[in-house]
Amino acid sequence: MFENEMNLSFLSLSENESFARVAVASFVAQLDPTLEEINEVKTVVSEAVTNSIIHGYPEKNGYIYLNCKISGDRMELIITDHGIGIKDLEQAQQPLYTSRPDLERSGMGFTIMESFVDQFHVTSEEGNGTTIHMVKYFKTSKRAIYSEV
């Protein structure tokens, strides 16, 4: 089975949002995903990274860590910040909940991430940062077809 892994760390600057999207998208391209699946990957990366930039590090820039593993038709993505963390995880994951309506956020980020991947989990500790753990299967991947043979 084909396996690969990569790690990235970058500063919480909005310039890095498209960089992170493109980096992960080209890495998972090794699994031959469809354009639609690539787009879903880009979207979840963008949501998680943007959250770290806006909410995790609201004042001082910090590092965002991105780990991506691919194996067979499976992608595992872990995005971490060491920012302010989330006090009430349940509330944060409610659709339409946002702590920053003043910044025109609409509270859809977690809902979008959840619906674009197969497994989704958030861990967070106030004052210590937030980690988003996602797993996605590329159902139409050529490698998925080969591994069934």
Binding site: S14, E15, N39, E104, R105
Partner: protein
Amino acid sequence: MGTAKSVTRRNEWQVMSVNLELTTKREHQFLIAALTGELDHHSAEAVRGKLDLELEIHPGTHLILDLSGLTFMDSSGLGVILGRYRKIKSLGGEMAIVNIPHAIEKVVQISGLHKIMHFYRSKSEALREMKGGLH
């Protein structure tokens, strides 16, 4: 050699940070704004600024947002669209969205935006319908 390499790299970064284009055209009280490229948190700031300036200079503007050129949009884009919608409404205008490209269909669908705003398949259809609604 070394110089050429660093120039190339600088160009790439330039492209990355300027990944969205906004073109606007005014037809009487209608403002037609077309977005091309990637609408994320980074590029949203400029869009918000430019559109708000237009809306404040011409209160009562009706906005037609043409999204056909978008290759990417996330929740930051939803925020900009909803924010402009609220602003336009408060200034006595109407807003419509035309040409949702396939790449952003799912995000738009999840957001429930279509329950709030009018969606049309073309600018001419939007203009016709909106003008009709104004009488």
